[in-house]
Each structure stands twice: as C-alpha cells, then as structure tokens.
Point group: C2
C-alpha cells in the first residue's frame, strides 16, 4: 500500500469513528505533514484519494471538509402535478404558519424560512439602525421617494452585477419585502381568471397571491436537480393561455436546486417565443454555495420581460421588510401598483441596508453564511440519513438553508405536524407548496441556525415519528 493510501485510510477511519463529523474541516495539509511525518505531496495525494472516495470535499481557499457518509441518498422524485390550471387552496395551513408570533413561540421550529439571526456578522446592521434612528434628521421620519432610496438602489445595482445583470438605479424599485415585489409583479401582469405557470413545489407565498387575485396555477413538473421542466412548460404554453411564468430558479425554495445556466437561458428564450412574462424570485440567490453566484434569468433577458423580485429577508433579516424588484419593461405599471399598495417604503431601514452593503458588511456576512449553511446542509443530510426511514428522498441544496424530504410512503405531514406540535416541534408540511395540496408526504426543514444537540434530538424524534406512522400503514 502506498504511503498516501495509508494516510487516506487513516483519515477515513477517523471519520468513520466520529473523530471528525460531517461538515467538520479536516486538518490542513501542513498540519497533516507535521502530525504524520509525511511530505506535502503525500498529504495532498491522500486528500485527493479521500475526495475521490466521496468522504470529503475541497473548498477553495479553505481546505477539506467531511461530506455526508456515502449512504445511498435518494433524491425526491420529479413532481407530477395535475396537467390543468387549478384554483389555489391551502390557506388555512399557511395562516397557521404565518400567524405565529415568533417571540412567543416555545416550539422548536424545524421548518420555517428564517435565516440565522444570531450571526455575529449581522451586528453592524443593528448598530447602524440604532444610530440612524437616533441621529438622522427629520427626513428619516418622512416619506421616502416612491421608487425608494437612491443610495440603496445604487448598492442593489452593484450587487446585481454579480448575477450577470446590468441594471440602472432607475430600473430598481424598493418594496416592502419580496412578497410585495411578487405581488406587484403578478398584479401588474394579470387579471382575475388568468393562468400563471409555476414550478412545483412552489413557494406558498406566491401561490397565495394567485389565490387572492383569483388567478389559476398551472403547476409544471419540476426536477429536484434542474428545476422546472422546459419540455412540459412548452407543452403547457401551447395548450393554455398563460399570462406569466413564476419561478425561483436559483437556490429554490423548497427544493434547493439551481437551474443550470443553459436551461435558464432556454427558459427565457421560451418565454420570448410565446411572448410571456417571467416573474423571477431570486430571494435566496445570493446564498448560493458556488462562487461566483449563479446568473439570474434576468441576466439573459434582452427585451425586459423578466420581472426580477428579491429582498434582504433571507440574506440579512426579514423583520426590516426591505425588498426590491427590477420590473423591466413593466416599470411604470409596477411603480403605480407600488404607490397604491403601500406608498413609499419605510425610510430608515433602506438607509441602514444601503450603508451595510456599502461598507462591505453584506459581502462579509454572505461569506460567513454560505460557509455556515453549506456545513449545516451536510450535517442535516447526514442526520436525515441516520434518523429517517430508508428510502426517504432528500434534496441536495445548492444554496440557502432549506431541505426538502420526501417520505417513503403515504405519511400525511399535516397530521404529522399536528402531532409534533403537541410535542414541542414544528416542521413545514409539503402540501403548502402546491395549489391543490400535493406533496402531503413531503416536508421542509431549516438548517440555518446552530446545529445543536437539541436540533439533532428534535430531528431524530421526527424521524422516529415518521417511522412509526409508516409502520401503522403497512398493508394488511
């Protein structure tokens, strides 16, 4: 056995025995040389072997990290939604989720779409806000201009550059969260009765916009690795009078995929061919694990038909409600819709976010969060494989902090969640992500915050509850 193979084997053993756990950084090459008395090239080769065996992965300028054990993990299946436009339901369950007051919540929330708010790299935001509120002159309390703070729009233009988008501050409207951006976009494009094509599963906030405005959802089959099926979408565009396509193509909520660039480009081309607008939700896009971050659909849009919607709710904090949109050729209508919906957005949160970005805190925070969320993804997948019944489908997120599970049997996750809530736990049932309540045997988890023993124990408990339900279900 070659020396580097021996070293690789020793490392593999330590991982096996739990000395290094999933998501941990392995010793640096130099540290390994020192410890085992081997040459740099031997240590490097050992790591390459370890990587080839799927036990670890290299991260640029950072080192090697333990990957989830190569237990055969199953991806969720490609979705097969109904092939016709549907009215959206499921409001009661969404309401239960969003009506909760977080500070009163004594539940371990394993499912909500909330970033880690305890991150140290967020602190400058809080002190900037405090300072602004104390010291800014009266205009900080006054109405802002309708499109929003110019300084913030400038910073957003700078950030959009990294997703391949060339924008001008006049292309950008500040909104009250991404939810308002999505709502303005869809209300700008549609009238009651119109059909909107959506990926499936799809963020429930958008689905509920369709419901509130009497639009019909046409759910398109979606691949958990590559996103909305262009083939199925093309068929649908031929068959139905679709007014808009709504997708979350980068770090998708809930599936975590990022559509490959070529498919993004093809999606924009398809929309052009059928002369349909696209509402692109990019709220998780800056949390992609790859650098540079993936391009947006908007970056391929040469005739202004993509309405890009985003917010700082997932990358920074949701409670400030600072979002934005780049509505392309629909700017004038979107601006009118913005005025009538909420007037100008709140003034000082915009100034605080602008400062935070301008001083480099945003990019620093993103680097920290991406590192943390990627590590947490690996840990949580490992826990799921460990604690959930075999055959459970698990997404493999390319960014963000959400994990999607498909249970291997007809477990009803709405009832599962009711049971869990009695036990102090909360997961998000998959049925919220469908117009008609599909994905009842799926659930969403959140790995944003610290992966504590309490979270591990909670997840284990969920896995056991699932196993118990599956057993009851065994056919006679």
């Amino acid at each position: 056995m070659k020396r580097y193979d021996q070293v690789a084997q020793a490392l593999a053993q330590r991982i096996e025995q739990g000395q290094y756990r999933v998501g941990d950084r392995l010793p640096s090459v130099r540290a390994l040389c020192r410890e085992l008395g081997v040459s740099v090239s031997t240590a490097q080769e050992a790591y390459r072997r370890l990587e080839a065996s799927g036990l670890a992965e290299a991260r640029p300028r950072s080192g090697y990290y333990v990957l989830p054990r190569p237990t055969p993990s199953v991806l969720p299946k490609v979705s097969r939604p109904a092939q016709r436009p549907l009215d959206v339901s499921q409001w009661d369950q969404v309401l239960e989720l969003v009506a909760r007051a977080p500070e009163e919540d004594r539940l371990l929330m394993l499912g909500r779409g909330i970033p880690d708010l305890a991150a140290a790299s967020l602190r400058p935001l809080q002190s900037q806000l405090a300072t602004l509120h104390r010291h800014v002159a009266a205009h900080g309390l006054n109405y802002d201009s309708l499109p929003g703070s110019l300084e913030l729009r400038r910073q957003i233009v700078r950030l959009a550059d990294k997703s391949g988008c060339l924008l001008h501050p006049d292309d950008v409207l500040i909104t009250t969260g991404c939810q308002e951006a999505l709502s303005l976009a869809l209300r700008t494009l549609t009238e009651p009765g119109d059909v909107v094509a959506v990926d499936s599963p799809s963020f429930y906030g958008t689905m509920q916009i369709l419901k509130a405005h009497k639009l019909k959802a046409l759910e398109i089959p979606t691949d958990p690795r590559t996103g909305i099926s262009l083939e199925a979408l093309e068929l649908a565009l031929e068959q139905w009078p679709i007014k808009a396509i709504q997708v979350t193509p980068t770090c998708n909520n809930p599936l975590g995929y990022t559509m490959p660039e070529a498919r993004k480009q093809a999606l924009v081309a398809l929309a052009q061919r059928f002369d349909v607008a696209i509402v692109e939700d990019d709220i998780y896009g800056d949390l992609a694990f790859d650098t540079p971050r993936p391009r947006t659909l908007k970056s391929f849009d040469d005739d202004g038909r993509v309405l890009l919607c985003s917010a700082f709710s997932k990358t920074l904090v949701p409670g400030l409600r600072v979002g934005w949109m780049a509505p392309g050729r629909y700017r004038d209508q979107a601006l009118h819709m913005k005025y009538v919906s909420t007037g100008a957005s709140a003034t000082l949160p915009q100034l605080a976010v602008a400062e935070f970005v301008q001083h480099g805190h945003y990019e620093r925070h993103l680097r920290e969060m991406v590192r943390q969320y990627r590590r947490h993804r690996d840990i949580m997948i490992d826990w799921v494989l460990r604690y959930f019944p075999p055959g459970t489908g698990v997404s493999y997120p390319q960014g963000g902090f959400l994990l999607w599970l498909e249970l291997p049997g007809a477990v009803d996750c709405v009832r599962l969640n009711e049971q869990l809530m009695g036990e102090g736990l909360h997961i998000t049932p998959g049925s919220l992500f469908s117009a008609s309540g599909k994905f009842r045997h799926c659930l969403r988890l959140n790995y944003a915050a610290a992966m504590t023993p309490a979270v591990e124990a909670g997840l284990r408990h969920v896995g056991e509850a699932v196993a118990a339900l599956l057993e009851q279900e065994v056919p006679a």
Copy 2:
C-alpha cells in the same frame, strides 16, 4: 361707554395694529386685571364682548386666542362632480408629487400631506426606536406575526375607544401605512369593473387604488362643512351597482370638515339599507380640534360593514409606515390579502409605536399638535385672506393641517404649480383629488410646520401669482 367696553376696544385696537397676531394667545384675565387695573369681572366681560365681535375665541383651560379678522371669508362651493362612474386619471401628477426624495428637495413645500416632524414631543419615539434597534433580541429582526404586534393592537384598541369604537385586538390588523389598509380594504371588496362611491374632492391615494384595480369612481357631491351629500349618495345607490362607499368623514383631506354625528349615523344606516360596505379613512381623526375627538362611522356600525383604516403617519411620522385597519366582518379576507401583499409588517416600528402610546407620549404629542395646528390654521387663513384675491374660497378645517382654496376664476393650478416650482415653491393642485381632473382651480396647502416669515412670503407670492393669472384672464 362701560369700562368693559373700553377694555374690549383697547384689545381690539392692539389686534388691529398687529400687536397680537392671529393665533396668538391674549393676556390671561389675571394679567389683564393687573395691567389695566380693572376687576376680574370687568376683564371677563371684556373678553366676552371681544368673543361676540368675532375677534377672539375662548379655548377651554387655555385662554383667549386671536381669530382671523372677520373679513368675510368664502367657503369653497359644494362640489358638483359628474353623475356617472368614471375611470380615474391624474396619475402623472400624483407621481410627480410622490416620486420626490424629501431630503433632496430644495422647494418650499406648501402643499404636501406631511405633519410637523420637528415637534419636540416626538423625540421619545426616536430614542425608543434607537434603543429597540440596539437592544431587542433576535425576534425584533424576525418576521412578526401576520396580524401584527399584540402590544400595538392593544394600544390601538385603547385609542379607538375614544372615537366610540369598541374593538378587540383580534379585530385589528397592522398594515404598512394607511395606504395599505385602504388598498387591502378595496381589493377585499371589489373586482375589476366595480363601482365605488367616493366623496369629492377625495384623497388621491385612494383614487389611484381605483385606477390600478380598474374600478370606477362615482364622485358624490360633497359639502365643505358637512361632507358627502347623503341625498346624492342615496340617489346614486338607487341608480348604480355600488360595491363600496369610500369616505374620509373626520378631518377630511383635503377639505378639513368633520361630518356631523347625525350625518355619520345616517350614512351607516344608508349603507345598511343598500347592503354596501364602507371604507372609512380616519388617518387625521385623532387630530380633531375638538375634545373628545369625533366619533368614527365605525362606532355606529353594528353589523361589521365598516372597514376602518388608519395610520400613525399624520399623528406621528409617516416614514415608519405603521398603519392599521379594523375590517369588521371582512377580517379573514383582509388578513389573507395582507399576507399576499406584504407578509407581516416590519417588527420594531410596531414595538416603538406601541411603547410610545403606552407611556402616554402619544396623547401628549396630540395635545401639542392640536394646539399648534389650530393656531396655524387661523394664521394661514388670515394670510390667505390678506394675500389672495377677494372671492377666494377657503376651507375651515376642524382638524388636521391641510387647507383647501378655491380660486375665484379659471386659474389652472397645474400650470400655476409648474410656474411656482421654477420659483422654488410647491402647492398641490386640486385636480389630483378628482377622478377626472376637476378642481383644477383649487389647491391644497399645508400649515403643519412652523409658520415662518419664509412661509408667509411664499404664500404671499402664490397669492400674487394667482392674482396675475386672474388679471390675464379678464374678459375682453
């Protein structure tokens, strides 16, 4: 001549000579006795004479104040809008108004709907906000519950009590400004093509909601002292399929009237008879000059058909975007509409406003502002009578900080404003307040902030510009 008549005459002379100006407090009874060596009863009787002559008015627990000179002031005429539902226009002019960034503005803004943001009694709000942003735990950065902070809703319930409304915190939804409340209310009640009856003139923000959602405005004749004509409204209800009545019955924007209680009650009864919902905008209601403040329509609503909309934008500051609504029997639909429109409202501004109210700062601030705005009203009416051409109609606001002028001739206030803006001044043209651009010969002024010599000079300049335009217009 009786001694008290001599004293009254002396005071009248001082007023005439400008020693006491409109809005000033006159010497107290005790001070007058000391100064002129008269008895308390003589001084009291002198003041009664002065009051009877219309030169001064008594304000409870405060003293006597100089009234505008009894130059015959003319009220604006009862409006005579078109007798059929119209599509709303005028967006370009509203946009020009709301797209301005206040901090960059070098204009003397004589027309915008902005309260005095320099008031000392606002300061606790700023320091509460600063403290909250620095010290509140992570939940302050998180999503709030969808209906909004329970503490704030409790305080709102307490305040609503003063307008005769018995509410429960569950009846209240926090919104992103009053604009969102109005938008949610109208979207909850209507579908494109529906007809909404409105007072006339009517706040342009609401008119633009109708435009954006393809609703038709049926403008109802409105009396500048008593509000929407119930007789005309009744005829309209018989003739048209009206889905909702939208009014601002207390401290109306722009006319300043408060509907008498009996008429408010009759309006609710009328809505009941025709089974129509009422969207009541009460954003200026707490700034009524009378105590206790007037009752809301909502206080007469016994079957939940009034959707009461308000905000802290005029009573405190607009830039926080804290509003609320009490949607009555439409609560569930309004809550859904709220969710899809902006999700939960921003968290910390709600907590800050709740604290501000809870600690009594709100009521203290209102007392200061009511006193200030009432004094400013008198001063500004005095200036208008002095500097505008005879025959100019002037509203007589019962609260708030907005004055409405009707010019005695076909002056086009849109063009007037363009001219003024070149000269560093801004007024709000009346045409913004009509679906179809009526009231072009009317304009709105703001008397919230300090009535400085610069404001007086600006207003004088506007008056002269109006006079010049009227002269050009003289028939051949």
